[in-house]
Symmetry: C3
Subunit: 206 residues, 3 copies
């Protein structure tokens, strides 16, 4: 079940990466690479941080083909994608939650402490998007738009709490997805966001 | 002693990260993440380069809480921080030196060669700031302002030389901090900087 | 033989890094660091992805000295370098091919699957340039200019195919360099490029 959602998720993330590459007029290779990194970069950074070798995607070539294909496919269908805007947002939100839960589980298996498990979940959830934005030379969107990274944090905390209280894993997943998806979609619908910190110094050293 | 300075240092670095995030109008989550990465990113990159697993902060949850708290606290006190400008510069300089010495020691323990030990010291000293600037979409400041990264290099070389000559460790630390701090503060005071390389090609391929 | 080309390659890459740093008015330290990262960053990212510790350059201090010296030397000779423009392009292309083949071999030795071996080759070939461009705050050039990253992909596929068919290694290297170099130079000469994906949404979420 989580695997199916994961496959949908990396496809959606790859497509979001391809669209970002298209906004920078990248060529087919650039589109493929950004799609791949957006989809699998979060998990890669997590694995490298946790010392979880071999890195997951190196053992699943299918993920390489899938994300690159999704990226190239996006070049063809991009002009029609605004019709799919809403579906896309739902898939992206499901991806965020699936990534977060999977990231937590990888760190749990390696017996890291709870705060590190949460960091691993968030890293898996948001770092693909951060790498996409760095490669496309823009400030990472997830750090200043409506609730996104916070949904990842909340899902990680909820999932770990229910797990600690011995809630059945399927039920836990259902709860995490329901809460996370509702929050994310509500945040988009009503433009909910965290307080923003705006700082403009007269002059500041370093 | 070095541990106390380290704790002051990651706090100061976290605050500098939060201020940079504020300049990009990031939300609370963005501020926390940039604070965390600015403070602990240098050591993380060092550990990943050296294969020093588990990465240091994953074994010290307190550092996670401390840096995130320092980031959020900065949002509250930012408007008063220009009064603390000079103290902040001193703390930042002490952090740079503490990070450098700690980075050298990690590589020494893993028995890397001297040039790698120096690279590990510099990486720990400056990479948090480089990651902060990349995430805030600006050219890394440490690579073109008054002596900063060079202080890290000098401290690494001095520390390793005194160590080789069998100087007592406490005395070595004292010397490294005295020389490093004096140089850094003098560089700020009199705007000392390294020669700058300015290159503007008519047209250059790749 | 491959080692000689590798040494020429990291020198050429270090010089391209130094020139990019010069365009951003970096100081001597920044120039040295960008030179080092441009030359050795691709292999470093590869080693970290594959868990290939210790990272290659940490075992060869000579590469550290060589790339930093090449960076500093570039500051001195930059004004004359447009005369060497064409030689430089050839060296850069040879470097791309050498990096790719070396990257494939590292992953082959670790017994990764073919798609991962190809990714390792490409990563070694192009990631130094990507890191250079990120540090210099610009969209990675290799992702949208005339055939460059694609040459790396093609060389990786060709090299692995000939290897699979049992072709003698020296002959394989000769073929890979001949084809790769011809393609890259033809691409520069006649501005060959991959199809570009340009996408400008009215409004797109995430």
């Amino acid at each position: 079940m989580l695997t199916y959602i994961y496959i949908i998720a990396i496809t959606a993330e790859a497509m979001s990466g391809a669209l970002a590459a298209g906004r920078r007029n990248m060529d087919m290779f650039g589109v493929s690479l950004i799609a791949f990194i957006t989809a699998l970069g979060g998990g890669t950074v997590r694995d490298m941080l946790l010392g979880n070798y071999p890195v997951t995607w190196t053992q699943h070539s299918a993920y390489i083909y899938l994300t690159i294909s999704a990226g190239l496919f996006t070049m063809v269908v991009a002009r029609y994608m605004h019709h799919l805007h809403k579906i896309f947002l739902v898939l992206d939100a499901m991806g965020l939650i699936a990534f977060t839960v999977i990231g937590c589980n990888v760190a749990l298996k390696l017996e890291y402490s709870t705060p590190v498990v949460i960091m691993a979940g968030i890293t898996t959830g948001i770092f693909g998007g951060i790498l996409r934005d760095i490669l496309c030379n823009q400030t990472p969107m997830v750090l200043h738009k409506e609730l996104y990274a916070s949904v990842s944090l909340l899902v990680a905390v909820l999932y770990l709490s229910l797990r600690k209280f011995g809630v059945d894993h399927d039920l836990n997943l259902l709860a995490s997805f329901t809460v996370g998806l509702s929050l994310r979609l509500a945040a988009i619908r009503w433009s909910w966001s965290l307080p923003v910190f705006s700082y403009s110094p007269e002059r500041w050293h370093n």
